[in-house]
Symmetry: C2
């Protein structure tokens, strides 16, 4: 996507073909820094410590992590171990497992070291292109939903509420939840986005606001607490979020707090859509609330907040130093609260029937 | 309440009887500073800029604001103007209007200047004592609700979730939502509090965590996003919040985000109680969502966060500097989502019938 007129992606393979480059998203919006990954350990650290985040981008980074492993050693035992270590970097995003498995089956299909390196490079690039194209198609299929609201409002402003960052920074291009918004803006629709700040790591106020601002899309940062009030007062036309893992029955894990917005949308008869590429579906779990593993992260992410003081990034402590904190990273929105899924193949109902209707190859 | 073994209230009249002293709650938990109010303008600033907050404490501060006005000038015209200016300091907490009206009718009942000063002093002290006693009684009436859960859990830990600070810092003693918790702790019940951090001003992580920690009550700070997940997984037994204004029909305005917790409690069959003194009821408004004025505050409160960096209080900017933000301070939880009200006279159903059953003197 364009940032200040320059085309940029959140991840790319350097010309030397030995270095993977990423934007260090921990520092945005106040610092734009590019980090180099040269080993699978670098990729694991980038995923675990959230230099990169967002289900599709975690998958692409994991794919390049496998590529970096193959560059180091083409031996089965080493590669299987590296693959498992990469998979363990974060527990919730299913794209991580999906991408590593896809990489490994491609790599082991080649017999000689050079062939394995070539396969790894080709497959990682393929996964990257697949995710970019998926996001483009999510925009194509999501656009009519926004267009429809715009028409009903006589061309008036369409207010979309989003939680966390499911933009191009979380993917490769376009984003998932933001793809229909970018498509609407391109189509000349008057669109405005309520950006949940998304505590504790503020991916909304830091990343989504930055993305939308750079693209020139109207937006307003709000606290995560505000959405219910806005919905009660007719100030939200549609909720659009991404997901880190969605069961084939339609239960959607996403950034903690998404479930609360889904409840408020339901209580106020506002459509609540989840945008995702097929790589984010989990075809093995039936009950998302019981079955999707929810990552618990360092409580310090809740207690400390980073931001800009003068021209320096500074971290400040909010609660009393000795107060304990808990940091659950995701929650699961049950299918019954989801109006529909926007995928690269179209929009479907949040049910096994709806999902497998679009993706019959996964039907049992 | 005891802080480090010393009895303290969030507001008191100095021995000179000309100075009202308050804790500057903007600086807690990292700095404990006492501020002096000498004029009604000082009281207005303390309320508007949130040195003090919480419906009962806003009422008590407003009462002392009228007292400070009477000290300056006992003339009707001056006093009516001062009263109106104090009432306009914040729009949502109805205790503000209630306390000022109570002060004014007492003051004008006296004819001479000395009598007016004496009436103002007596009435402000009376309102203070009334609110302290109300909170004590809320604890008495709320305790059985917690005791009941404890018994059902065979004496196991009772997990209460609260939003914002409705503790003694928001009142005079005991708090509203915290009064039953303190009473439960005194009764030897194993109680633990999930403390919503309460963005944007972090009254939960800054004030409630500090209060509970000083009292020695087990607590865990969580983001405002986390409550739904905790409720889905059986980690919350009861939600207990305060309110800034509750209609006689049972719609409860409270800190922004409360409505989202009420929805989650309902979706998971968890009791959701609102604790309030009768001074927080609005006997004139039928529909809370449509009728209660919701304060919109400076967007900078959303964009900037204050906390401790080293041993200094520091403010940091989170989103891009040019991203707009919106800052609605309260939302309204409809009566249908409230399990009941805990008042100084007992617990009642969230309905006109329930509320007027306890307070028949306001019945039409």
């Amino acid at each position: 996507m364009k940032v200040d007129g320059k085309d940029i992606r959140p991840i790319w393979l350097d010309e030397d073909e030995k270095t993977v480059k990423i934007i260090d998203q921990r520092l945005l919006p106040h610092q734009f820094a590019v980090e180099e990954l040269k080993t699978p350990e670098d990729a694991i650290r980038a995923i675990r410590d959230m230099y990169v985040r967002g289900a599709p981008l975690i998958g692409v980074t994991a794919a390049y992590g496998v590529y970096l492993a193959v560059l180091q050693d083409q031996d089965d035992i080493y590669l299987i171990d590296a693959a498992n270590r990469i998979k363990a970097a974060r527990p919730t995003a299913v794209n991580l497992m999906w991408a590593v498995d896809k990489m490994m089956s491609a790599v082991v299909s080649a017999d000689d070291p050079a062939g394995r390196i070539a396969e790894a490079k080709r497959t990682a690039a393929g996964i990257t292109a697949f995710e970019a194209e998926n996001c483009r198609m999510i925009g194509v299929h999501g656009l009519p939903l926004i267009k429809d609201i715009s028409r009903k409002k006589g061309g008036g402003e369409v207010n979309v509420l989003t939680h966390c960052n499911a933009g191009w920074l979380a993917c490769v291009e376009y984003g998932t939840a933001t793809a229909p918004v970018y498509a609407a803006a391109e189509a000349g629709i008057d669109v405005h986005v309520w950006v949940d700040e998304t505590r504790p790591l503020n991916q909304g106020s830091r990343l989504t606001a930055w993305e939308l601002g750079k693209y020139g899309i109207k937006h307003t940062v709000i606290t995560d607490n505000a959405g219910g009030h806005l919905m009660q007062h007719g100030m939200v036309d549609m909720v659009l979020v991404g997901t880190d893992r969605t069961t084939y029955t339609g239960d959607a894990a996403n950034k903690i707090g998404t479930y609360l917005k889904a409840l408020a949308a339901r209580d106020n008869n506002i459509p609540f859509f989840v945008a995702l590429p097929s790589s984010t579906f989990d075809w093995t779990i039936r009950d998302g609330v019981a079955g999707i593993p929810i990552e618990e992260r360092d409580p310090c992410e809740v207690k400390y907040v980073s931001g800009l003081a003068g021209d320096q990034l500074q971290t400040v402590l909010i609660p009393p130093e000795n107060s304990p904190a808990a940091n659950f990273a995701f929650d699961v929105t049950p299918a019954r609260l989801v109006s529909g899924f926007i995928t690269e193949r179209g929009v479907c109902e949040a049910s096994e029937k709806g999902i497998k209707g679009l993706f019959p190859e996964y039907g049992s």
